[in-house]
């Protein structure tokens, strides 16, 4: 194969694209909410953790997989709405830094509730574990989950793109993320747009949860915690403000992790997070608006 240099093989490449796709979904979820609320949701990983526990319970009750997945989506969306009502709404209008700290607190609350409720060993969500098996595609063995994740992410992203560009709700959302006040004056309902963004963000979190749970069948209170941190970095790397740069940022981080993690020997790949974090710092210094955005050059006054 052409990718044979650097120990790189097609399965590793496919896994890297799959991880990138999952991170891209999370990045869109975080980016949509940031667009309308100017809020970076550190507790996004804990939403996914709740969803993963829903999957585990589904498996325990013997539900068929699609019912477990629906249950997972329901739990995550419901929890997102509760979070929006109890925490995000009262904090609206505060600085992004204050809201980030607040979601940091929410993340710890949810994580410790899960610790109390389900113990430090957590539960098992093995309903989709069969997706770990490989498919033989032209003589290359690629795990089913890699294909499923890539297809599902592509479908979700296409749906989001259609929603944002072809529907009134999407138009309102884009208008709100450009200039919330002006959008409101022109008749965009603030609460409806925010609720819409929160719900879509929740659905994306649930889909990402289902994909991640194939690999991490043991669900504990720290499920998706480090993934969320990396995605947050990726979103900032790409540019928080717009969905497409945010998506590309999330994808790049996941792809880099998957690829370098698969290629480098352990004594180097253990420092991979440091390199990624350092890259984020460099990008923030050179392109504060993100890698994939055009600099606007305007300094916000007041």
């Amino acid at each position: 194969m052409t990718l044979a240099f650097l120990n790189l093989s097609w399965p590793v490449f496919a896994d890297a694209v799959a991880l990138g796709s999952i991170y891209a979904l999370m990045a869109v979820g975080i980016g949509l909410v940031f667009g309308v609320l100017r809020l970076v949701n550190f507790a996004y990983g804990q939403l996914m953790m709740a969803g993963a526990f829903a999957l585990a319970f589904g498996a325990q009750w013997g539900l068929p997989n699609w019912e477990s997945i629906l249950f997972c989506i329901g739990v995550v969306v419901a929890l997102s709405l509760v979070m929006d009502r109890l925490v995000f709404r009262p904090l609206r209008g505060h600085t992004p830094a204050v809201m980030l700290v607040a979601t940091f607190a929410v993340a710890f609350i949810l994580q410790n509730i899960a610790l109390i409720a389900f113990g430090s060993f957590g539960k098992t969500a093995g309903g989709l574990a069969y997706l770990q098996e490989p498919w033989d595609i032209f003589g290359v063995e690629i795990r089913k989950i890699a294909i499923v994740a890539i297809v599902a992410a592509a479908a979700c992203l296409a749906a989001i793109q259609l929603l944002l560009t072809r529907t009134p709700v999407g138009l309102h959302m884009r208008a709100a993320s450009m200039d919330f006040e002006t959008a409101r004056m022109l008749g965009v309902r603030a609460n409806r747009v925010i609720t819409g963004a929160v719900v879509i963000s929740g659905i994306l979190a649930a889909v990402a949860t289902v994909m991640l749970s194939v690999e991490q069948t043991q669900v504990t209170s720290t499920f998706a915690l480090s993934d969320t941190i990396y995605v947050l970095m990726g979103v900032v790397l790409g540019g928080l403000n717009r969905p497409i740069p945010a998506t590309l940022g999330g994808f790049s981080i996941g792809f880099a992790f998957g690829l370098l993690g698969g290629v480098l020997p352990t004594n180097q790949s253990q420092y991979l997070p440091s390199f990624i974090f350092a890259a984020v710092i460099v990008v923030l210094l050179l392109r504060p608006n993100g890698l994939f955005t055009r600099a606007t050059g305007a300094v916000e006054r007041l």
Partner: protein, 346 residues
Amino acid sequence: MSQARRIPELLVPVLLILATAWLGLHLSIYFQAYFLDTLVKVSIVVALYVFIGNSGVLSFGTISFVAVGAWTAGVLTVPSEQKQFTMPGLSHFLVTHTVGNVASLALAAAVGGVFALVVGLPLMRLSGLAAGIATFAVLGITYNVLTHEQKIGPGLNAFSGVPQTTGIWQAAIGGIVCVVVAYLYQRTRFGRMLRATREDPAAATASGISIHRQRLLAFTLSGAVAGFAGGIYVHLQPLQVNGLYLDLTFITLAMLVVGGAGSLLGAVVGALALNGIFDFFSAATNTVDVFGWHLKVPAGTAEIVLGVLMAVVLILRPNGITGSREFSLPRRRRPVADLEKARATT
């Protein structure tokens, strides 16, 4: 305001620390451990305050300076003959060099300060969300490197063999040193300039203040105080790198926010109050008696209580329980002042 009226601003935080130490001194060893822990947390929260409070810029980086300080003081005070057993990967220089308690604390402060200076030099150009994310990245790098790098410390293992010199007096004096440094800084013109940039960056810049330089100064000082606090901490108990990452960041930020991020009094009160609450619920995981009630809570309750308090304070009282004010004695009302206030409101 006359200088005499300013005395309580420093005196009250110092007295609070002394009172905590005095209480701890008169309790059993078992309870004393909680008071020691509280005093160390005061130092860390004050370090957080020096930068976040004065500049108004969010930083998640402070705990990485605490970790670096703890590593410095810890590695340098373990007796040489023990190092090759407890830290087999340690570099030759660190194996052969050992210093005493006070020197290790000074070095911890120096290393914390230098690290903060190096990191801050580029990062202090950022503010708001970007500063938060970038300092978070610094925290992530520090955690990642300290976890895996065996040449400079115990890696994932807990420190063992560090002389446990942090008794109640070292903890109290350490806390007081941090408070005094923080107070002296905020009273200098540098502290005032930084506070001016916090209130109105545009006006401060127009008055000739370099935001970057003032923030960098505070960041470096905050790093030194944090490194010092880390040194005190490692002399208290066998620290582990996992104890110097997200959990500690969250707990100390909660203390600063609940106390009131804008004042030194807020930092000290927040640390004392919240650590008291936190320790109470931590102790309650193996049953505590409250007025004859046997209270037993599951592990994790303390974090939930802290998280809820933090969220509630952020929503209802963003300036914290002290209102981000320093301590001042109640003043006799003068009619002129009332008149002026009435004029200002109309």
